[in-house]
Amino acid sequence: MTSRVEIEELINVLEDIRNTQHPDVPAELIRNIVYAEFEKQDDRAQGRKDVKKLVDDFLKTIAEA
C-alpha cells in the first residue's frame, strides 16, 4: 500500500483545525479516519463502515466516562 507518510501533509492541515477549533476531538481519531478513507478509496461502502466504527468506538469512551 501507499505509505502513510505520504498523507501526513493532508493530516497536518486537519490537525491545525482540530487543535485550534476542536481540541476535544482526539488527533488520533481524525488520523485514523483519514487512513481508513485513504485505504478504502475504491470501496466507499466499506470506507463509511470503517469511519462509523471508529467514531462509535470513540463515543463509547465518552458514554462510559
Binding site: M1, I7, V13, V34, Q41, V55, L59, I62
Partner: protein, 665 residues
C-alpha cells in the same frame, strides 16, 4: 512510492517473441529511443493495457484484441499475446500479468469473444484473489489519475483548458488533479462523518421523543429531518441526472465533432440550395420584366416611319391650327369693332365713337370680313383628323426601352452564370456527401444530433436551476433544525438525552474538521503546486522575463511576466512547458507517487527548451521513462545533462516492418 521494475511483452504489437525492458530500482531516468513506427506509443499503450486492461488508439477508441498480436507472429499461427509488468510499491513487490489466449477450438480469432483474457497479480510472490487484485491496482495506480503517470506529449495542450471556466475537458482534468492530490480522501471523510452525525442525531431525536418535556420539539425535528432526507435524495437525483447530461453532452459533442466535415458539407449544401432558389427567383422576376418590356418592342421597328409621318402631320396640323388661331383673333377684333360701331362707344378705350369713326369702323369691318375667312368645313374635319393622327402616331413612338432591356439582359446573363456555378458546386458537395452515406440520412442524423445537443444543453440549465433551488430549500431546513436543536438543548434535562446530545456535538465537531479541512487543504495545495510548478518552470523556460506561474481555482497555471502582467496568449511550446511543470508539481505534492512515462514530450519545443526539460526530468518524479524518437533530443547532450541520473537506455530496432526488437544500449 510505486516503481516499475520491468516490462515483458510477448508477441504484442511490433514486438515479436518475448522481450523485456528492465528498469532500475534506483531514482532516475530511462530513455527508450525509437524512430516513428517502431512502437514507442505502443509501449505506452502496453503499460496502460497491463494496468487497466484497455488498449485505445490515438482517437481514444478501444481497439479490437485481434489487432494486437504481432503480425509476423500471426502469420506463423500465434495469436496469443501477453504483458508482464513488475512493480514495487514501497517494500511490496508486485507482478502483474495480462494475457490474451485464443479460446480452445478457435483456429483464427475473429473478434474479442474468441479470446480469453487471464489476469494475475502476485504480491510478494503470492497470487491475489480477483477482488484483492482489483483493490490493489486501484490503490497503487487509479485509472482516474493515470494521465499524470502515462502520457502522450501531444495531449499536453489539453491542460490549457484549466484556464477556461466550464469546459468538459478542464473539469475532468481538475477532478483528476484533486484525485491525485488526495482531496477525495477529505471529501469522502466529510461525507461519511456527516452520515455518522445524522445517525447520532436520529438516536438523540428518538430519546427526545420519548420524553414528554422534549417530545414536541423532537417531533418537529423529525418532520424536518424527513423533509431534509427527501430534499437530499432529490439533490442526489438531480446531481446524478446532471452528471448523466454532462456525459451525454460530451458524447454528442464528440459525435458532432467526428461528423464535423459532414456537417460543414450539409451546411454548404443547404446554403447553396437556398442561394440557387433565390437566384432562380430573381431570374424569373427579370424574365417577367423582359417579357413586359418586349410587348412594345415592335414600336422600335416602326419608329422611323412613324417619326417621318408624324413630322408631315405635325406640319399640316400646325398650318391649320395657325390659320384657325389667326381667324379667331381677327373674329374677336371684328366683333369688338362691330360692338363699338353699334353702341358708338369703344369698350377697349372707354370713349365715345362719333359718326365719322363709326363709318371708318364699318369700312374696316368690311375689309376684314372680305380678307380673312375661317376654316371651312372640310378644313375643320381635316384639323380634327390631323389631331387624332398626331396623337396616335406619338403613342406609337418607341420610348428608350432598348436600354432597359439591355440592362435586364445583362443581369439575366450574370444570374445564369451564377446559377450554373452554384449548381456545379452543389453537385460536387452532394457527390462528396454521398461518399459518407445517404445524403438524406446524413442530413437527418446530423439535424437530430444538433437538436439532441440543444435539448441536452437546455436540460443541463434546468437541472442546474433545480439543484440551486433544492440547495436553498436544504439551507432553510438546516436553519430551522439548528433553531430547534438549540431549543431542545436548552430545555432538556434528561441524562440520556444529554449524553446523546454530547455525542451529536462531538460528531458535529468531527464533521466540521473535515469540512473546513477540504477548503484549507485545497488552499495549501494551490500554494504548494504553484510554488513547485514555478520552480520547474523557471528552470525550463528560456525567457528570463517570465518569472513565475500563477494558479487559479481549477489548478490552471498562467505565466506571469516580470512586470506582473499575466501573459494572455502563450505558444504551443510554452503550453508544453507549463503542462510539464504542472505535472512535476503534482507529483511533488501528491500522496500517490509513481513513475512518469512520457511519449515524445518535446514535439514543438526549441533546442533550448528540450535541453532544459531534459535537465529537469529527474526533478519531476523519482522514476522517469522517456520515449523519444531519434534526435528528438540530442542523445549525447541528454547523456551529459542527465549524467548519473540517466539509469538505462534502450533502442527500438527495426528488424522488419512488423518486427521491432528492444535492445539495451
Amino acid at each position: 512510492m510505486l516503481r516499475f521494475t520491468s516490462l515483458t511483452v510477448e508477441n504484442f504489437g511490433p514486438f515479436k517473441g518475448t522481450q523485456t525492458i528492465d528498469f532500475t530500482n534506483e531514482n532516475g531516468v530511462t530513455i527508450i529511443w525509437g524512430n516513428n513506427g517502431r512502437g514507442k506509443t505502443t509501449l505506452l499503450n502496453i503499460f496502460r493495457y497491463a494496468l487497466f486492461g484497455r488498449y485505445k488508439n490515438r482517437r481514444g477508441t478501444e481497439v479490437d484484441l485481434t489487432t494486437l498480436p504481432n503480425i509476423e507472429g500471426r502469420t506463423e499461427g500465434n495469436y496469443n499475446f501477453k504483458v508482464v509488468l513488475k512493480m514495487i510499491n514501497d517494500t511490496t513487490r508486485y507482478e502483474l500479468t495480462r494475457q490474451c489466449k485464443v479460446r480452445q477450438g478457435i483456429a483464427v480469432p475473429k473478434n474479442n469473444d474468441d479470446y480469453e483474457t487471464l489476469v494475475f497479480l502476485k504480491e510478494n510472490g503470492s497470487v491475489l484473489a480477483p477482488d484483492a487484485r482489483a483493490h490493489v491496482l486501484k490503490v497503487i495506480m487509479p485509472d482516474e489519475v493515470s494521465r499524470f503517470f502515462l502520457f502522450d506529449g501531444e495531449l499536453l495542450q489539453e491542460y490549457e483548458e484549466l484556464l477556461l471556466e466550464g469546459t468538459e475537458v478542464g473539469s475532468k482534468i481538475k477532478d483528476s488533479i484533486e484525485k491525485i492530490l488526495g482531496v477525495p480522501v477529505l471529501t469522502n471523510s466529510a461525507i461519511d462523518s456527516q452520515a455518522v452525525l445524522e445517525e447520532y442525531r436520529k438516536e438523540k431525536n428518538k430519546i427526545a421523543q420519548s420524553n414528554a418535556q422534549t417530545q414536541k420539539i423532537a417531533t418537529q425535528m423529525e418532520g424536518l429531518e424527513a423533509e431534509k432526507r427527501e430534499q437530499n435524495a432529490e439533490l442526489e437525483r438531480l446531481q446524478g441526472d446532471l452528471a448523466g447530461q454532462y456525459e451525454e453532452r460530451s458524447r454528442l459533442e464528440g459525435d458532432l465533432q467526428q461528423s464535423d466535415h459532414v456537417r460543414t458539407l450539409l451546411d454548404r449544401m443547404d446554403s447553396l440550395e437556398a442561394d440557387i432558389a433565390t437566384k432562380k427567383g430573381n431570374k424569373a422576376d427579370i424574365l417577367a420584366q423582359i417579357v413586359a418590356q418586349t410587348k412594345d418592342a415592335w414600336r422600335g421597328l416602326v419608329s422611323y416611319r412613324v417619326d417621318s409621318i408624324l413630322q408631315t402631320v405635325a406640319a399640316e396640323l400646325t398650318e391649320l391650327e395657325n390659320r384657325e388661331a389667326t381667324h379667331a383673333i381677327e373674329k374677336r377684333l371684328v366683333d369688338d369693332m362691330k360692338q363699338a360701331a353699334h353702341a358708338h362707344h369703344c369698350q377697349l378705350c372707354d370713349q365715345d365713337v362719333d359718326e365719322h369713326h363709326v363709318q371708318a369702323l364699318l369700312d374696316r369691318i368690311g375689309a376684314y370680313t372680305r380678307g380673312v375667312s375661317g376654316l371651312n368645313g372640310e378644313e375643320q374635319a381635316a384639323l380634327q383628323s390631323l389631331r387624332v393622327r398626331k396623337a396616335t402616331l406619338e403613342s406609337m413612338r418607341a420610348s428608350s426601352k432598348a436600354e432597359i432591356l439591355s440592362l435586364l439582359e445583362t443581369q439575366l446573363d450574370k444570374l445564369e452564370v451564377e446559377i450554373d456555378d452554384s449548381e456545379r458546386q452543389l453537385k460536387a458537395v452532394r457527390e462528396e456527401l454521398e461518399r459518407h452515406g445517404d445524403v438524406e440520412e446524413l442530413a437527418n442524423s446530423t439535424k437530430a444530433a444538433v437538436s439532441a445537443l440543444a435539448q441536452c444543453l437546455k436540460k443541463i440549465e434546468n437541472l442546474k436551476e433545480g439543484i440551486q433551488l433544492t440547495k436553498n430549500k436544504l439551507k432553510e431546513i438546516e436553519n430551522a433544525l439548528s433553531t430547534l436543536e438549540a431549543k431542545l438543548n436548552r430545555v432538556s434535562t434528561d441524562v440520556d438525552l444529554l449524553r446523546a446530545g454530547k455525542k451529536v456535538s462531538v460528531c458535529e465537531q468531527i464533521h466540521d474538521i473535515f469540512e473546513k479541512g477540504i477548503a484549507a487543504y485545497r488552499d495549501k495545495l494551490k500554494t504548494d503546486v504553484e510554488r513547485d510548478a514555478t520552480e520547474l518552470f523557471v528552470g525550463i523556460s528560456n525567457d528570463p522575463d517570465y518569472v513565475r506561474l500563477k494558479i487559479n481555482d481549477n489548478y490552471g497555471l498562467s505565466m506571469v511576466h516580470v512586470s506582473g502582467e499575466l501573459v494572455p496568449l502563450r505558444s504551443a511550446g510554452f503550453e508544453h512547458v507549463v503542462a510539464l511543470s504542472l505535472i512535476g508539481a503534482l507529483h511533488k505534492n501528491a500522496p500517490l507517487r509513481g513513475p512518469i512515462i512520457m511519449d515524445s514530450p518535446f514535439g514543438r519545443l526549441d533546442p533550448d527548451h528540450k535541453r532544459n526539460i531534459t535537465k529537469s526530468l529527474p526533478n519531476m518524479s523519482e522514476q522517469i521513462v522517456l520515449l523519444a524518437y531519434t534526435h528528438e533530443v540530442d542523445e549525447q547532450q541528454a547523456r551529459e545533462m542527465l549524467a548519473d541520473t540517466l539509469r538505462k537506455e534502450y533502442r527500438l530496432i527495426r528488424y522488419s516492418s512488423f518486427h521491432t526488437e528492444i535492445e539495451a544500449q
